[in-house]
Symmetry: C2
Subunit: 249 residues, 2 copies
């Protein structure tokens, strides 16, 4: 495989993602790193495919993934563009890849801060995590920000069978590597249910609304490529600051 910076595909590993998803990851990082700016045109399909050493069909599949995620816009006869008026998403795969909150004002760079992390016996309201699941879970609570402004609270549950103990730092940053490399799976499908709710009582500054106030609520189920449910999360967001955004094509 040729090695023409800034294009360099990660090598295939035992638990590697499919090639077309690695392409999507690579381009996501390129855009996040600023190699391609908002609204900028990417090289033509043929060019990109040659540089990456992949077939055009495979490259197209990777580009389609990013279009569905809203990161790219593709115009026939013109080219492939980084979606403008839309901040690049600096975080990669797993739950962050599917982060769907955007500022009402538009754009917004997503970041997160860990509020709490502990292992608990699985509560009844958390669904069963498929075959082989224990009754022990990790619960991660995070504060979600856009452009540095707190907009949402997040509570994530996943089964403890993958790792007995966790450290906060492992989840603070490049979690997309952690999920795949440490836990040995990657999230292939998610289902979101969006409605309204109340800010949970464990909220604290600097999240906007007070506990008990009305807000938007997202319930999420995440399945690995194996088909097993691997993650369940609830997100409470301030609907005056952010919206859940979905794009279909």
């Amino acid at each position: 495989m040729p090695n023409l910076a800034p294009f360099e595909l990660p090598a295939a590993t035992a638990t590697a993602l499919p090639l077309y998803l690695r392409i999507a990851e690579l381009l996501t990082r390129e855009i996040a790193a600023g190699h391609y700016r908002s609204g900028e045109r990417l090289p033509a399909e043929e060019t990109l495919a040659q540089r990456l050493g992949v077939a055009t069909g495979t490259l197209r599949k990777g580009l389609d993934v990013l279009r569905q995620r809203g990161l790219l816009v593709r115009r026939q006869g013109s080219g492939t563009y980084v979606r403008s008026a839309d901040a690049p998403r600096p975080e990669g795969r797993s739950i962050y890849e599917f982060f769907r909150l955007e500022r009402v004002a538009g754009g917004g760079l997503p970041t997160a801060a860990v509020l709490d992390l502990r292992s608990l016996r699985k509560p009844a309201h958390v669904p069963d995590f498929g075959a082989g699941a224990t009754q022990r879970c990790h619960r991660l609570r995070r504060l979600r920000c856009l452009n540095g402004e707190p907009v949402a609270l997040e509570e994530i549950w996943f089964d403890a069978r993958h790792v007995p103990a966790l450290r906060e730092q492992a989840l603070s940053e490049a979690l997309y590597q952690f999920y795949q490399q440490s836990l040995g799976f990657w999230i292939a499908r998610v289902e979101d249910r969006v409605g309204t709710g109340q800010v949970p009582d464990w909220t604290r500054r600097p999240f906007g609304p007070e506990a008990g106030q009305a807000c938007g609520m997202i319930e999420r189920w995440s399945w690995a490529g194996s088909g097993l449910l691997e993650e369940y999360s609830t997100t409470w967001f301030d609907a005056t600051l952010a919206r859940y955004v979905a794009r279909w094509s």
Copy 2:
């Protein structure tokens, strides 16, 4: 093209959809008509492709569309199944194809009733409908039901240049044909922004919440294949009865 009922692709026309989308439409109708029931397995790719007289790759692209819409589940080594615990969606293309509300209790057959239809000068809060747009719009207000129970109010705007006048009956039922055949375009991409809002003051029985009460709110922009914005809508839904559902893979 072979003609083995119940598989019969619509013939290509001047404004025809791409083949892979016609396949998706066909299968959607088959499922809605009850030829395939919830949880049932579809014929293998090879079989389906042969019967329809299309290449396997084209068929796969059509199946992927339905998987993204949540209508089908595909399992490697096993087969393609109608998504169970999920009511078939009887309505086809256009805005209804992308209808994303589901009952909290699960399932639910979507129906709609026209509350009001009129032509108006485009208000400021409605976005511009691209090149060639007039300043005149059609505004359609509908009551949305799941399993016969009212769960949402819908207000749809689109430019009046396609047709000067509309009759209610044209929009009550098979709107998916109306959009493509009468207006000459098909919706290729939509963007939803989901947050919270207040029930509009034009609500009336039998929609659950009173005017001014908190509810879920969906703003939607719809683009045709040409890239032009063709439709803008707002939906207010009772979050105690229904949720906005999104599935990603």
